[in-house]
């Protein structure tokens, strides 16, 4: 009797530890899941879709950890990293790499490009201290627009990459021509009770999260989180505040550059031009839903938040399509998805200063 009461109590206290924003979005996720089952989806199908979205988005969410920890705030300039990753993939494809080598070589290239751009971006963030969150999104927009010109002018004429007519790279470059689609997704892929597990993707996410966790136990990582928590304390203990912020933003940008490679192989094509423009917001919403604030973020926030948020987005479309099939409003399903996605982003940003509490 008492044991039971104790167990209930501990379950309750465990539940209370879950950030409020996670409970809200998580509750929504469960509701749509139940709705899906009511309309005849197998639960394995729905969770498979959620896992797929989680796998391709988690790295983007993870990219926000160093920038948040350093006090720069969520990396609204994620598109900078993304265009670097895209450039790396385009160059590596043009150089003739295919298959697993495409993934490896483009990842290394992306990390190098990302670090270099991240250095410049970090310097910019130090120059605009105090208004990072106003400057960052527009830095991302500006870079995306500038790279629109790069994609047009880049001297690559691989027939599978350029427009059929005229010069310039296509909006979408299918990776299957290069044998480079689903490389990670199909690595050690297995199915159990209808649940599709893209082991390679999840493994990459796991390793990236582990490395991030370990990094914040090192001297450099601790210095970065001290800078974010209390810059005066950091300064008084001999930490170079500006340098730590630059390192954090280099990491953030490099991780985003790597993230787009995981994303592209997961969907099977590279998207150029306007694609990076609005990638920052869902990524940031993910980590915020997981309980991060604009000054605090950890790996758990990334995993939990991205799973419930992207998981929800992944199943809203099929579930509502079937639920509304045959009714007058069947045509607005995609609008519903947009409302849910942007509504949650808005909610997450509004909760940002409280850290999901």
């Amino acid at each position: 009797m008492t044991e039971l009461a104790q167990e209930r109590f501990s379950l309750l206290s465990l539940f209370k530890k879950i950030p409020f924003s996670t409970r809200v979005v998580g509750g929504l996720y469960l509701a749509v899941l139940v709705l899906g089952v009511v309309f005849g989806f197998s639960i394995a199908t729905l969770i498979s879709a959620s896992l797929h979205f989680f796998g391709v988005w988690a790295i983007f969410a993870l990219a926000n950890v160093p920038s948040i920890q350093s006090g720069t705030g969520p990396n609204f300039a994620l598109p900078i990293g993304i265009v670097n990753g895209l450039l790396a993939m385009v160059l590596v494809l043009a150089a003739g790499f295919t298959g697993i080598w495409f993934i490896i070589v483009s990842s290394v290239t992306a990390l190098v490009f990302g670090s270099l751009s991240g250095y410049l971006y970090g310097r910019l963030m130090n120059a605009v201290k105090g208004s990072e969150m106003a400057i960052a999104p527009y830095t991302g927009f500006a870079i995306t627009a500038a790279f629109g010109l790069v994609w047009l002018a880049i001297p690559i004429n691989h027939p599978n990459m350029v427009f059929f007519l005229g010069d310039g790279l296509r909006h979408q470059i299918p990776l299957d021509y290069f044998g480079a689609n689903f490389i990670l997704a199909e690595f050690l892929y297995f199915e159990v009770f209808g649940l599709e597990v893209r082991t390679g993707e999840l493994l990459v996410v796991f390793v990236a999260c582990l490395l991030m966790y370990l990094f914040f136990r090192t001297k450099a990582g601790i210095a970065i989180s001290a800078v974010g928590r209390n810059p005066l304390f950091a300064k008084a203990t001999g930490i170079n505040v500006d340098r730590s912020r630059v390192i954090a933003n280099m990491m953030s940008t490099a991780i985003a550059a790597f993230g787009v490679i995981v994303y592209a192989q997961g969907f099977g094509f590279i998207q150029l031009y306007d694609f990076p423009m609005f990638m920052a917001f869902p990524a940031i919403a993910g980590i915020l839903v997981g309980g991060a604030s604009k000054q605090r973020a950890n790996v758990t926030n990334v995993v939990v938040g991205t799973f419930v948020f992207q998981g929800l987005i992944a199943i809203v479309l099929p579930v509502f399509s079937r639920a509304l099939a045959g009714t007058d409003v069947a045509g607005v399903v995609n609008q519903i998805r947009m409302v849910v996605q942007n509504g949650i982003i808005l909610y997450a940003l509004a909760q940002m200063s409280k850290g999901g509490k």
Partner: protein, 532 residues
């Protein structure tokens, strides 16, 4: 019947249990200049806040006692009510609008409206706020107020770009333009002025008081008080000490009353300690741009193993010295340690040179309040010496905990465990954590600023004993900055008094309170005053 303009009767005030005023009673006569003096924290500002009805008083539970104005009990609930009662105040920070003319600033919110037909129509249609103003009359009034202060400046000059001294006068002119003004409070009006500006302000004060307006003059400058005031009231630690006619007293006596007998903390050994002549730290012509604590050319030497005290009133620059040397604020000057030059504005290099710093601001600078005790303690040593790391260059929890437990035992930090967040600790224990971090760094020179600020007397004694022990047993050189003269005198070997950003003098701990009081007030050598 009452010949007093204002009477404070048994005023007491506490801020959540902290008694800042205790049963203060004194009176102000019409047309007198009444100086109010006391060390920081003596309760002057609180008393004036009560008089002026500042919201901070009422949101913290009001006060006890009564204030009588012309024999009638008054209680201002807001600054507006105080103004209506004829009480004016000039704050230390100017409240002027730079883009307005002097006249507009003087008449701000008390503008004179034109009384013509057009105004009657617009005000019936759109309300009073739409009336046009009678600038001619406003300028005339402003002129009169300025003339009363012997200010020849044109009333239509913009405030923007005026010298600071003039702004002060504009503030005062605004107060005396109020026809009903009976009492004017000047809170350290000369602190920002040059000598000649201060002189003309004193003259203006005499003119104002001749017109029957009483002035409460808050100042630390004893020579100004003796020059201008009729009577002086001294507060100390929230208690009324004495009111004296200025002609019956002198700067020496006021200084002594202000500092008082320091009996709270006894010096354990009376004889001077043996200290080597070797100079450990030499500071030459140090300037520090710390806001409100500006240092303007400070020089001193600290000998090896010495406890060197830095005292002085708030805002005079004593806190700027340690902060400047540690690179927290922009600094220039020459610092040498063991005859080696110390680079300035680079905290890392300063820490590497064996200096450690316990900041006066525990919560903002001294601690990561959301992190555990052990994490806080190891932080600096980990960062600058790469201690507490394992082979993978990651933090070694075991080593960190072991060190924290050692420090908790040594400093008697009261906590539930070494994993408790520092934000949950009491002030004294937080201070001990800050000291523990500095000690973990194994410094040769330790800077501590306000080590006992906001902590109870028992913890105070412990911290001071600890500093003494470090110096005596470990030969550590300590530079301690404090607002509390008593604690400086209790452990320091020499004490430098800082006034207006410079060293006013260096005294032994057993020098008389009078000497300290005089130096704090910027009187380096009182002519005719006999030193004992």
């Amino acid at each position: 019947m009452s010949r007093n303009l204002l009477e404070f009767k048994g005023i007491s005030k506490n801020y959540s249990g902290n008694q800042v005023l205790h049963d203060v009673s004194f009176d102000i006569r019409p047309g007198e200049i009444h100086a109010l003096i006391g060390e920081n924290g003596a309760g002057k500002s609180t008393l004036m806040n009560i008089l002026f009805g500042m919201p901070v008083i009422h949101t913290t539970g009001g006060y006890e006692g009564e204030i009588e104005l012309n024999g009638e009990k008054v209680e201002a609930k807001s600054p507006f009510e105080a103004m209506a009662l004829g009480i004016g105040m000039v704050h230390q920070e100017f409240m002027l609008i730079p883009g307005f003319t002097i006249a507009e600033n003087i008449k701000l919110n008390r503008e004179i409206e034109k009384n013509n037909v057009k105004n009657k129509i617009t005000s019936t249609l759109f309300g009073r706020r739409m009336k046009t103003l009678d600038f001619k009359k406003m300028n005339k009034d402003a002129r009169i107020a300025l003339d009363k202060l012997d200010m020849s400046i044109e009333e239509f000059t913009l405030v923007k770009g005026l010298p600071i001294g003039y702004m002060q006068f504009v503030e005062i002119a605004r107060e005396i333009d109020k026809t009903e003004l009976k009492l004017l409070v000047l809170d350290e009006p000369t602190a920002v002025l040059t000598e000649s500006e201060a002189e003309s302000l004193l003259q203006a004060m005499r003119n104002i008081s001749k017109r029957g307006i009483a002035i409460i003059f808050i100042s630390h400058r004893l020579n100004e008080i003796t020059a201008v005031a009729d009577r002086v009231t001294i507060l100390r630690d929230g208690e009324f000490v004495i009111t004296k006619d200025v002609k019956d007293t002198n700067a020496l006596e006021i200084a002594e009353y202000m500092v008082g007998r320091q009996v709270s903390i006894e010096r354990t050994s009376t004889e001077a300690r043996e200290i080597s002549d070797e100079i450990k730290l030499s500071v030459k012509d140090l300037h520090v741009a710390m806001p409100n604590e500006r240092v303007k050319g400070v020089s001193f030497d600290v000998r090896k193993g010495e406890i060197f005290g830095i005292g002085g009133l708030a805002g005079q620059g004593k806190l700027g010295i340690a902060n400047g040397i540690m690179g927290m604020y922009e600094a220039r000057g020459n610092i040498t340690i063991d005859d080696e030059s110390l680079p300035l504005n680079d905290t890392r290099k300063v820490l590497d040179s064996g200096l450690a710093f316990v900041s006066e601001d525990r919560k903002e600078v001294g601690l990561l309040v959301e992190k555990a005790i052990d994490y806080n303690i190891m932080f600096t040593a980990m960062n600058i010496k790469s201690e507490f790391l394992n082979v993978f260059k990651m933090t070694d929890k075991k080593k960190i905990r072991r060190n924290a437990r050692k420090m908790i035992d040594m400093l008697d930090i009261r906590c539930t465990s070494e994993r408790q967040h520092t934000g949950r600790l009491s002030g004294g224990n937080q201070q001990k954590v800050c000291v523990a971090r500095a000690l973990t760094q194994k410094p040769t020179i330790l800077f501590v600023s306000e080590p006992t600020r906001g902590i109870d007397i028992g913890a105070k004694k412990l911290i001071l004993d600890l500093l003494l022990e470090l110096s005596r047993d470990k030969g550590m050189t300590i530079v301690m900055t404090s607002s509390e003269l008593a604690e400086l005198c209790s452990i320091c070997d020499r004490i430098a008094v800082i006034c207006e950003g410079q060293v006013a003098g260096i005294l032994p701990p057993d020098a008389s309170p009078t000497k300290f009081g005089l130096l704090m007030s910027g009187i380096k050598d009182l002519e005719g005053g006999k030193h004992d």
